[in-house]
């Protein structure tokens, strides 16, 4: 890849933990790659696998689903269900031999501004290595 590749990463952030963590990263003036476009949802359990799939098929280079740590869910158990749904989708993608590495599930708490920055940076680096999502250009998708 000669010309500079700027990943497009969609980040579904749960309102109570991860979105707050992202805000904290901001108010702590940490550096976070601008490739991540945050989408606020009330709970990671709102993230419909079809939404993630849609993002991927439309050519998102990466999709991050972030929620409260297990046991911390503002709605008790939402993140546990989110994890199962995510697992199924990731497994489907993987079984088809497609790049399941473009999907990431991470728990980020409201006090983990630094962790949020690290997670996004790490993911961004990985996606950069993977290069653009080939689905982006596939007209038959």
């Amino acid at each position: 890849m000669t010309e500079k590749f700027e990943p497009r990463i969609v980040g579904f952030l749960c309102n109570w933990c991860s979105y707050a963590g992202a805000d904290l990263a901001g108010s702590s003036k940490l550096k976070v790659p601008s490739s991540l476009i945050p989408i606020r949802v009330m709970c990671s359990s709102r993230v419909d696998p079809v939404l993630v799939l849609t993002a991927l098929l439309q050519g998102a280079d990466g999709v991050l689903v972030a929620g409260c740590h297990p046991g911390d869910c503002h709605y008790d158990e939402g993140n546990y269900y989110a994890r199962r749904r995510f697992a199924v989708l990731k497994k489907v993608i993987e079984s088809l031999g497609l790049e399941s590495g473009r999907l990431r599930l991470s728990w980020v708490s409201a006090s983990e501004g630094q962790r949020f920055a690290d997670v996004v940076t790490e993911f961004n680096e990985k996606i950069k290595k993977m290069g653009p999502n080939p689905m982006k250009k596939k007209s038959s998708l």
């Binding site: 199924v88 990731k90 088809l96 497609l98 599930l105």
Partner: protein, 379 residues
């Protein structure tokens, strides 16, 4: 992972075959109706034209002589039949549903999804030799029928559908009664109760359950293991075929978005498919924008979204019955791909579609400490 029998009894009953298996089975059902054990039997029957088989809910026991328990094709997935009878309630009739193991397992799944009510249903399955592709059968029904019968005699599955050839659950007992053909002495078969309901039926018929069925057990287990090897191999080859985006696209390139696969799928129980709903219909500018970013987009659109979406929605309940592949006008190996995906996703939760009513559906439950390998970056 349990591949063949799980709930099976230590013993079964050996039934002597009179003229042929088919008549003996029909005869068995006749008795149950005469004794008032069942008010009706749900069983496959050849259509008058002779070129297809359908499920009939049979109330007049005299018609049983025309029933075809061992139909060569699966034109309607039996679970769908059970569901259409009982979705809105058990009803007053006691019904015996004679289904193939995969149909039985689909029925179990649908029950967990509240789409069937088994209170008055007794599920009876039998060793399944597999079925032929509908297309092959239609070409020349009479010839096909002969081929099918020989295939059964010689236990040769080469004429059966590809998914049947890699089916490792063709003798899996998930219902109440099971008819075991494999390993039985000449002119006999086993009848194996696998639930209280099943036992009751047999005792009502004064059939005593004390014959040893080891020959059946070992035979079916051996078969299951052999088939599982085949299955794994086939899936490996398949992954090479679908693996990587282009191969995947090639595999599904012919998809015309007719959604037949979804319509015939026994566990696609939705009133309106998510992928037929307005959720996936967009204003024209969105398509233009998409075309702009991709260079061009195909129509009808979103075939990949449909296929992959259906995999995420349904693969956990997929019983690899093959109906989708039979229904595909473009002969895409849908069922084979699904069987591969299903094995993988179900293994995540050590789930086995249709194995038992007790296992909760994976997406209706969770464990607090699981799937850690799905978190952060583990690949």
């Amino acid at each position: 992972m349990n591949t063949s029998i799980n709930k099976q009894e230590q013993n079964g009953a050996i039934i002597a075959v009179k003229t042929n298996v088919r008549d003996t089975i029909n005869d068995f059902f006749k008795k149950t109706m005469e004794k008032g054990i069942f008010d009706a039997i749900l069983i496959p029957m050849q259509v008058p034209a002779g070129d297809s088989f359908v499920y009939v809910l049979l109330k007049d026991s005299s018609l049983l002589k025309d029933a075809s328990p061992l139909s060569p094709i699966m034109s309607v997935q039996g679970a769908k039949a059970v569901s259409s009878i009982t979705r809105l309630g058990k009803g007053h009739m006691k019904i015996a549903a004679f289904l193939r193991p995969c149909e039985t397992r689909a029925t179990i799944e649908l029950t967990k999804l509240e789409q069937t009510n088994l209170d008055n249903i007794t599920l009876i399955s039998m060793d399944c030799p597999g079925v032929m592709p509908i297309s092959d059968y239609i070409e020349d029904p009479t010839k096909a029928m002969k081929l099918f019968e020989n295939a059964i005699k010689n236990e040769d599955d080469t004429i059966m559908r590809p998914v049947c050839q890699i089916c490792d659950k063709s003798s899996m007992v998930a219902g109440d009664l099971h008819i075991g053909l494999l390993g039985a002495k000449k002119d006999t078969f086993f009848i194996i109760p696998s639930s209280e309901k099943g036992k009751q039926v047999l005792s009502d018929l004064d059939i005593t359950v004390k014959d040893n069925i080891d020959s059946w057990t070992s035979k079916t287990q051996a078969k299951a293991e052999e088939k599982q090897k085949k299955r794994k191999k086939a899936h490996k080859e398949l992954r090479l075929k679908t693996g990587a985006l282009d191969n995947f696209l090639d595999t599904f390139a012919q998809c015309i978005n007719c959604h037949n696969c979804m319509r015939v799928c026994p566990v696609c129980y939705c009133r309106v498919c998510y992928f037929d709903s307005d959720k996936v219909k967009h204003p024209s500018e969105d398509y233009l924008q998409k075309a702009e970013s991709k260079g061009s987009i195909r129509f009808l659109p979103d075939t990949s979204l449909f296929q992959m979406g259906r995999m995420t929605h349904m693969s956990l309940s997929c019983v690899s019955c093959g109906s989708c592949e039979d229904a595909c006008p473009m002969s895409i190996p849908v069922a084979q791909v699904f069987s591969m995906i299903a094995d993988e996703t179900q293994e995540l939760f050590n789930y086995n579609a249709g194995r038992s009513l007790e296992d909760p559906l994976p997406l209706k439950a969770y464990k607090e400490d699981e799937l850690r390998e799905m978190e952060d970056d583990h690949d």
